[in-house]
Symmetry: C2
Subunit: 687 residues, 2 copies
Amino acid sequence: MTPMLNPRSVAILGASDNPDKIGGRPIRFMREFGYEGAIYPVNPGREVVQGLTCYASLSDLPEAPEAVIVAVAGDNVVAAVEESARLGVKLCVIMASGFGETGPEGKAIEAGMRDTARAAGMRLIGPNTQGIANFGSGAILSFSTMFIETPPLDGPIAAISQSGAMSVVPYGLLRDKGIGLRYVNATGNDSDVSAPEMVLEVLEDPEIRLVLLYLESLSDPTMLARAAIRAQERGVPIIALKSGASEVGKRAAASHTGAIATSDRVVDAFCRKYGIWRANGMLDLVAAAEMYLHGWKPTDDRLAIISNSGAVCVMAADAADREGLSISQLAPETEAELTRVLPAFASPRNPVDITAALLSDGGLFSKVLPACGSDPAVDLLLVGLPITGQGYDYPRFARDTGAFLRESGKPVIVSNAQAKVREVFRAEGVPAFTTEDEAVAAISQFVRHQRMMEQASSTPFHALPVPDGARAVVRDEAASLDLLEARGMPMPRRALCRDVGEAQALLAQAPGGIVLKACSEKVPHKSEHGLVAVGLTTEDEVAAAYATIRERMQAMELGDAPLLAAEMVKGRHEVLVGGHRDPQFGPVVVIGDGGIAVEAMPDNVLLLPPFSDADVARAVEDLRIAPLFKGIRGQAPLDLAAVTRAAQSVAALLCDPAANIASVEVNPLMVSEDGAWALDALIEVYE
Amino acid sequence: MTPMLNPRSVAILGASDNPDKIGGRPIRFMREFGYEGAIYPVNPGREVVQGLTCYASLSDLPEAPEAVIVAVAGDNVVAAVEESARLGVKLCVIMASGFGETGPEGKAIEAGMRDTARAAGMRLIGPNTQGIANFGSGAILSFSTMFIETPPLDGPIAAISQSGAMSVVPYGLLRDKGIGLRYVNATGNDSDVSAPEMVLEVLEDPEIRLVLLYLESLSDPTMLARAAIRAQERGVPIIALKSGASEVGKRAAASHTGAIATSDRVVDAFCRKYGIWRANGMLDLVAAAEMYLHGWKPTDDRLAIISNSGAVCVMAADAADREGLSISQLAPETEAELTRVLPAFASPRNPVDITAALLSDGGLFSKVLPACGSDPAVDLLLVGLPITGQGYDYPRFARDTGAFLRESGKPVIVSNAQAKVREVFRAEGVPAFTTEDEAVAAISQFVRHQRMMEQASSTPFHALPVPDGARAVVRDEAASLDLLEARGMPMPRRALCRDVGEAQALLAQAPGGIVLKACSEKVPHKSEHGLVAVGLTTEDEVAAAYATIRERMQAMELGDAPLLAAEMVKGRHEVLVGGHRDPQFGPVVVIGDGGIAVEAMPDNVLLLPPFSDADVARAVEDLRIAPLFKGIRGQAPLDLAAVTRAAQSVAALLCDPAANIASVEVNPLMVSEDGAWALDALIEVYE
C-alpha cells in the first residue's frame, strides 16, 4: 500500500491539544480509530499534545514521517512543504485554504508547492482539503467533524471528492444504512493529486469494490479515463456525481472552484464510454451502493417479485416497467413447485403473491426462494415485505433469504418500510430498501451499469487540444464535402461547375435529375436567397437554373465561384451527423434526427472517438427515431450501416490533427433503406 | 363529524381479551390512543374483555352503538350486518375476508350486505379491510399492527387506501419523518364506501390539509371526480398513487383485487383534469407531504438557494434545472444587503454561498433569509446545510429559519444529511429533507401541483358508458368527415362524385388542384391499393384518375360507391386528433403528432371532455412538437386555434349520446400557419 493510501507514520504540523480543533482532530481520530503507525504532533509551543510527545519542528522527529498533515496557515504552508520535501516525506496533506481558489496569485503559489514536491518525489493533497481517511488502518489525515457525528465502519467502498463536504455526505448516508467505507478522501484544489488520480490510487487496494466520486470540475478527463480503464480491469464500478450540469450550476461551480464549464452532454458521453454510472444527485450517488458489494454478475435483467402483499406485487411490477426491467416468465415446473408450497389462494405466477400465509408458515422463504431462484428465467429476485409487524418472524425470513443468497449466488434484495427489519436483513448480507420502487430502481441501476461496464471502452479518447488563440473559419460546401468524402462519407455524385455544360454533363449521368446551388461560405442559408434549384431533369431546366443562380450571385456580389451540382437522391429521412472539438475532451461526434428542427426539437446522441460500429448502433437505439432503423408500418429499416459509415468518417476527420477541424455539420444526411448521402455540409477549420 | 369519521360509540363483534388478536387490537388501540366514546366488546363467551364489560350480543348493549367492528368470520358476518342494520347502527367495519375477492358468489353476498345496510341508512367499510383509524379522537376501528410498531401522532393528513398495507406504509414513512396523520383508512373491497368516497368523507374534517390516496382499481372515477372537486373547494391537495400502470402490474392487480384494467394514460389525464398529483410509487407518495401543511401559495416558481457549501449551491441549482424551477435573479438592493451581512469571500448572487462564515456567525440566517425573502423575485427558499457537525449552532439556525418562515409566509425548506438536525428544523415548522436534490424535487412538486390545482376543472366528465354488448363498426371516410364537419371540424372543400363531371366541377373551384380517392370502409389503407390520386390540376388528369380508380375498385369488387374528391391544401405539419370512449371514463380525446409514426414514435396528449381551449393549449405544450406552435427557425407558428377547433369538434362528437361513437381518428389533420384540414378520418360507431 502506498503512503497515500496508508502511511506508516504521520506528523501533524500545527498539532493541537484540543481534540476538537483542526490540528487536534486527526490525532484524536487516529487514536480512536486504531491507527497503529507512529503519530508525531509538531508544535513549537508544546511538549505534549493529547498525551503524545510533541516536537518543535519536522526535523526534530526521530524519523522522516511518510505523511505530513499541514494544519498551519499562510506562509507557513509553503515552508512546511519545502521542509517536508527536503526530509524525504512522501505525502503532504494541506488543509489550509486561501490558495488557488482565491485567484491567479494563489494558483501560482500552489504550482510552486507542487513543483517542489514533485522534484522531491513527494505528493500533495490539497490545499483547501478536509483531508483523507482510511478506516481500514485508522490513518485519518482529515479534520472532518462527520466522523464524530457518525462513527466509521470499514467497508469496501471509497468516497472520493474534491469538496470536503461531498466526501462525507455519502459517508453519512451510507453509514445511516449500516454500510461501511474504507476511504473518504477529499482532494481540495487538486493542485497535485486530482480526484481522478485519487480514484486510480484507491483502485490499488484489492478490497475496494465500489468507488463513489463527486466532481465539480472535470479538469483532467484523461486521468479519469485512465482510472476508469483500470477500474474495468479490476471489475470495480465507479459511480460519479458530476455537478454543474445546469447553466446556473456551472456558474456557481465556476465561482466555487473555478471549474471549467463543460458541456454536460459530453460528460455523459464520456461516462458512458468508460462505464462510469452517472448519478443525478447525492441520494442517487448512494442509492444502489449496496447492490455492488456482492460481485453479482447477472446475465440478464429478468426479475422475480415475491411478496406477501398483492399491492407490492403490483407496484414492484410497475416499477420494473418504469425502469426497463423484464419480469421473469416462470417455467411450468417452477409454478408447479410454487403451487405445492403455497396455499391455494396464493399466486404461483410472477409476481408471486404468497399472501398472509407467511403469518402461519414463517419458513416459506426457504421454499419459495429456491423454487424461483433455480428457474433459468430468473436473474434477479425482490422480496417485498411492506411491513412486518406482530406475528411475522422476520429474523427467520432474513436468515432464509441470506442463506439463499449465499447458496445461489443470485442477486436477491428486500424492501421493508421498517428500519429495524432492514437492519436484520442487512446483517444477513441482503441489500435492503425502504420501498419496492426504491429497491427496483437500485437493482435496475445495478444491471444497467453492469451492461454499460461490459460495453465500456478501454481505449484512451482523442484528447486533441483546441489550438491556442485559434480562430475557426468556415469552409464552403464543396470544400467541406471533399474533406468528408476523403474520409468515407457517403455522398451523391456531384460536380463543381464553372459553366452550364459541366452541370449538363452531370445530368447525363443522373437519371433522377440534379440539384444546382451556389457554393459560398458567405451564405449559409442558400435556399432563402433563391440560390438552390432542385429537381432539374432536362438540359433546358439546368440551363435556366444555372442562369438564374448566376444572376442572383452577381446581385449579391458573391463573385463567380463555380456552382455545385449534385445528383438527386431518393431518401426517406433526414439525419444529422456532425461533431466538434471540445476544449477538454477533444473530438465529439453527434448523430441524430436531422432537418430544420435539430435545435427546437433535438434528438441526438454524442460519442467520443474512437468508437466501434457497435457503439454507434447502441447509441442510435437511444434516439427517438430509433424505430426508423428497425422499420415501422411495413417500411424497410433505414440503412444503419450507411449512417455508421457517415459517423465514422466525421470521427476520422475530427481526429486528424493535420485537418485541424473545429466543427462538422452534415444536415441533412439523407438516408434510405439502402444508402445515405450527405446533401449539405458545413465545416469549420482552425486557422 | 359523521359516524364514519368519528363514531361516538363502538361495539366490537368477536371481541378478544388478547390485545394482540384481530378482535382485541381495536379495543387496545382505542384505550391506548385516548378514545373517549363508549367501547362495547361483544362476545358470548366472555363477561369481561380487556377490563371492559363484555356483552353476549349487539342487542344486549345499553344503546345502539354508532359503529360496529365486525371481527367475526363466515356466515356470522352477514348476520352481524343484518342485526346492526336492524338496531340502527350507522357504520359497520367488516374485517373478514373471503367475499368479493374470491369470485362471483362472494360478490353477491357483498352486494346483499350492502343492500341491507343502505336500506337501513347504515354504511359499510370493507369487507376484507384492516379498518379505519382517527388519531384525532382515538377511534381506531382497525387491527393494523403498524400502530404498535410506530406510535401515532395526530396531524392534518389523511391516508386512504383500498389495501390495508398501503394505508399504513405511508403512515410509517411519514411518522419516521416525525409527521402526524389523523386518518389511516383502508376501504378493503369497497363494497359500499369506496376509497374515493372515503376521500370525500375525510374532506369534511376542516383540519385535514392533505389527502394521500392509494388505489389499485379506479372503479368509481365519478366519485373520485366529485371528491377532487370538493377538495378544490376546500383547497386540500390530493396526491394519488394508482398502481397497475404496467401490463404485468395490471395483471397482478386483476388477480389481487379483480381491478378493472384502465389505460394508465387515461388515469393521468383524469388526475391532471382534476388537480390530483399522481405519485409514481410509495416513496413518491409521501416525499413532498411536508410541503403541503403550511397553506403556502407561491405565485411563481423562482427559487433562492442559500448554503454554507459551494457544492450544495451547484447541486441545488442543477436540481432546480432538472425539475424545471427557475432561479431567482436577485435585485441589486438584495445583493447589496447580502454583501453587507456576508464576509467578502462569500457570494451575494443566487445561489448564495454563505461559506464557513456560518461557523463564526451563528446568527447569519436571521440576516440572510429576510434579505432574500423580501426580494420580489424570490418565491421559494432552500437552506442547504449538507452537514452541521461540531461548531455549527444548528438549533439557532433552525430557530432563525422558523421565525423567518412564520413572519414572511414564504415557503422555506432545509436540507441536511443528519436526522437529528432535520428533527430540530421540523420542530420549528421547517420542512426538512436529507439532500438538496430531494428538497428541490419536493418544492418543485409542490409548486407544480399548486399550478395544476389552479387550472383544475370543477365540471364532471362525460361518463358515457359503453353500451352493453355493443359492437363497433367502421364508417367510411365520407361519412366520417360529415359527422365531424357537423361538429365544426375544419376540412377542405370536398364532394362525393358519382361521375367524373362532379369531380371536375370541384376542380373548377379548386385552383390548387384536387385529390380523388375511393371511399370504402372495407379498405382502410387506400394508398397502398392505388385508390388515391393526388395533385390533379387539369380536367384530363381528373378524368384519367377517375377512370383508373373506378377500374381498380371493380377489380377489388368494391362496388360503384361514389368517389371522394377534395381540394388540395397546403399545410406544413401532419397532426393527429382523435379519441375513443373509455369503459370507465367515457370520451377521451387525443391530440398529437400525426403521420405514419403515431404508434412507433408516439407524441400525444389525452384530454377528458369537457375541456377549455386553454386546456388544449396547455396540453399541446407538453408535446414534443410544441415548438412548432411557437414557430421555429423563423417559420410562422402552426395554427393552434385551428387544432383546438378540431379537438373540440372531436369532443363534441364523442360526447353526443345520440351519435354513439366508439372512436375517431383524424390523421392527418394537415396544419399550416393559418388553418387546419382533416385530410382523412376514420370513425367507429356502436351498433
